[in-house]
């Protein structure tokens, strides 16, 4: 008899799924929120005064496992220096036909000059377009990445360019939680550190809020996050879905 009930369990489960929200999105129109440390297309950052961060040290090129980065440094012109250091990145090219978005260049960079945005949706019709030059990688006067015609930028993908850097800095040690160890970016200032393990993660800032609301309905009961279980969880999610002006003030 138990066998018979387990047999019909499949029918019950598939019927339950009819009422659950879909996990997939209609992709080109709607995109899922990206993960806080998503590796996308690179950007070359500037300091808040507009100086380039890259000092042409070529450590990124050395760290690159697929040799997709080509850098040549040049001495700064004394009367109008490009970067605060001795030299600057005179040629900076990344070949996106080879890049595997491993972010080793970001780790290697001593000045946080190269970071990755969240945008990975770009396709080219010729090989020359795949090689991004310094002019294309460098952020513009507002500190935002340049949007090339074949790239698909959406809201939020340009702002969060320092994801990996912000996450890696606390180093896993409680003493370093919330301590910033990076310089300011043009247009953004000194970016806030990502919350560590002892604090609740700020879902709105990391962009994974919607995912957390959708997925518990597809999980087994024991895998649902503690704060979303049972009646209190239901109340919490309902309150999170409410428009901001109706929401009660947080205690």
């Amino acid at each position: 008899m138990a066998n018979l009930f387990t047999f019909f369990g499949g029918f019950k489960l598939t019927l339950q799924h009819l009422t659950r929200p879909t996990v997939t999105t209609s992709y080109p129109q709607a995109k899922r929120p990206k993960q806080p440390r998503q590796h996308g297309r690179h950007v070359l950052n500037r300091y808040e005064d507009g100086m380039e961060k890259c000092i042409g040290c070529e450590l990124c090129a050395g760290a690159c496992p697929v040799d997709c980065i080509y850098v040549r440094g040049l001495d700064n012109p004394p009367d109008h220096p490009v970067s605060p250091g001795e030299r600057y990145g005179y040629i900076y090219e990344i070949n996106y036909l080879r890049c595997i978005h491993c972010d080793l260049c970001v780790e290697a960079c001593p000045t946080q000059a190269i970071t990755e945005s969240k945008m990975f949706e770009f396709s080219f019709t010729n090989r020359a377009d795949a090689i991004y030059t310094r002019a294309e990688l460098l952020v513009d006067d507002q500190g935002m990445p340049r949007r090339l015609p074949w790239e698909d930028w959406r809201d939020g993908e340009a702002e969060m360019t320092g994801g990996w850097m912000r996450a890696a800095s606390p180093n896993g040690e409680a003493a370093f939680e919330g301590v910033t160890q990076w310089t300011g970016d043009l247009g953004f200032g000194v970016r806030v550190a990502e919350a560590g393990q002892s604090v609740h993660r700020d879902d709105a800032a990391t962009g994974s809020k919607q995912l957390r609301n959708v997925f518990p309905k597809h999980l087994l009961p024991e895998d649902v996050p503690l704060d979303q279980r049972g009646l209190t969880g239901l109340a919490k999610t309902a309150r999170a879905k409410m428009p901001r002006r109706h929401r009660r003030r947080e205690p």
Binding site: L13, R20, V23, H218
Partner: protein, 409 residues
């Protein structure tokens, strides 16, 4: 002959152009509705199953992606039509039609509604009502086996061939159980005509064959017809993990489209046949209003058929594919004896209750003997009495082993 003339104008001895027109319209509307239903069914299946898997499903063409089937059909028509070099060209071209035509013809015997008055003629709302009725269903499903078999054989390719061998074995073995359950229905009704079968169930829900014959024939029929359709969970014929795409692997363009069309046409038709045989077809509550009197039976019929169409989609979402030996076990060892026994019991009760109870006793006895026989048969290769046991424990002679291995030892 006079009875048939009263229900269908085509049987009147002298008929004029009005009768021809009625018949023509009936055929056009019937098959047109079927074609429309097929496109909707393909869309419905894809949409429902994606909902059950928490996906979105077709959404690009038309509202909710309802025109997706049209787009697919257009794509198939415009694609290049390939015929493999090893193929038997004539049979290869013939096979799709052997599948499509039976699928179309089978639908013609399904009563869609009750009767209707047009220009002084009483017209049945079904494409045709041949006196042999339900035998046509069996004949057509027999022919569509040929379609599948020849398609696989004529492709000149090994996977389609394997698939067609499986298909013919499966369809033939399930046809026995299918025929036997139809016999119970025919015994209870006393007629082969689908119109009469539906008429006999008109007196309310307790007269439906589903309840009147006991639920067993209905269950057996649904399982057997699902196997006959090669639909999941019985779709070993097109098991992708084993046979690429099944018997239509080598087909492309509109020839493949015909197989696809026939598959879904059959799904609808068989849902309709289940409704006709067991759920009273268009039977149901009808308001006593002049024009609603012919609309309501159609609505009832459609509602029941859609429920079964959804059932097929649900089967596909919920059940994993059967293994081929499990499939054969179920067909031969369970469904055929069960349906055979049930025919005996129903026939006994139709004569008089005493005979019925005698038949129940006989069937129970036969069931005990059969299950003991199956148990013995299983124990011969797996149990303590296994004939393989002796071989299993014996050391393999060196010379035999050397024959089968490359290494010297």
């Amino acid at each position: 002959m006079s009875f048939w003339a009263s229900v269908d104008p085509i049987y009147t001895p002298h008929y004029g152009w009005v009768v021809w027109l009625i018949v023509l319209i009936r055929v056009l509307v019937g098959f047109g509705a079927l074609m429309g239903a097929v496109t909707l069914m393909i869309w419905f299946e894809r949409k429902a199953i994606s909902d059950m898997q928490s996906r979105i499903g077709p959404q690009r063409w038309g509202p909710f992606g309802i025109l997706q089937t049209m787009a697919d059909g257009l794509k198939l028509i415009l694609k290049e039509d390939l015929i493999p070099e090893q193929a038997d060209r004539f049979v290869f071209k013939l096979a799709p039609y052997l599948v499509v035509v039976p699928a179309l013809v089978t639908f013609s015997i399904v009563p869609i509604g009750g009767t209707m008055r047009i220009a002084g003629h009483v017209v049945l709302l079904q494409i045709a009502n041949p006196p042999v009725g339900i035998l046509l269903l069996l004949a057509m499903s027999g022919i569509s086996v040929y379609g599948v078999m020849l398609a696989g054989w004529s492709s000149g390719s090994k996977y389609p061939l394997l698939s067609s061998v499986r298909a013919s074995a499966q369809m033939i073995s399930y046809e026995a159980a299918l025929g036997m359950t139809i016999v119970t229905v025919v015994l209870a009704t006393g007629s082969l005509s689908t119109h009469n079968i539906v008429d006999a169930q008109a007196g309310g829900i307790w007269h439906w064959n589903l309840i009147r014959l006991g639920v067993i024939p209905f269950v057996v029929f649904v399982i057997a017809i699902t196997a006959e359709l090669n639909r999941p969970p019985f779709d070993v014929v097109e098991g992708e993990s084993e046979l690429v795409g099944g018997f239509h692997t080598e087909y492309s363009s509109i020839r493949f489209g015909l197989f696809y069309l026939a598959e879904f046409m059959n799904t609808i038709t068989m849902s309709a046949i289940i409704v006709t045989l067991f759920l009273g077809g268009p039977a149901g509550w009808v308001p006593n209003v002049a024009h609603l009197r012919w609309v309501f039976p159609i609505v009832w019929f459609l509602a029941k058929t859609v429920a079964f169409a959804f059932g097929y989609v649900w089967f596909r979402a919920a059940l994993p594919r059967f293994r081929y030996d499990q499939l054969m076990d179920m067909g031969w060892k369970q469904l055929i004896p069960l349906s055979l026994g049930w025919v005996l019991i129903v026939a006994g009760f139709l004569i008089r209750p005493a005979w019925g109870f005698l038949m129940v006793a006989v069937v129970l006895l036969a069931w005990t003997v059969l299950s003991r026989a199956f148990e013995l048969g299983r124990s011969r290769d797996r149990g303590d009495q296994s004939v393989l046991r002796a071989i299993g424990h014996r050391a393999i002679p060196d010379d035999v082993l050397r024959e089968h291995t490359d290494e010297e030892f």
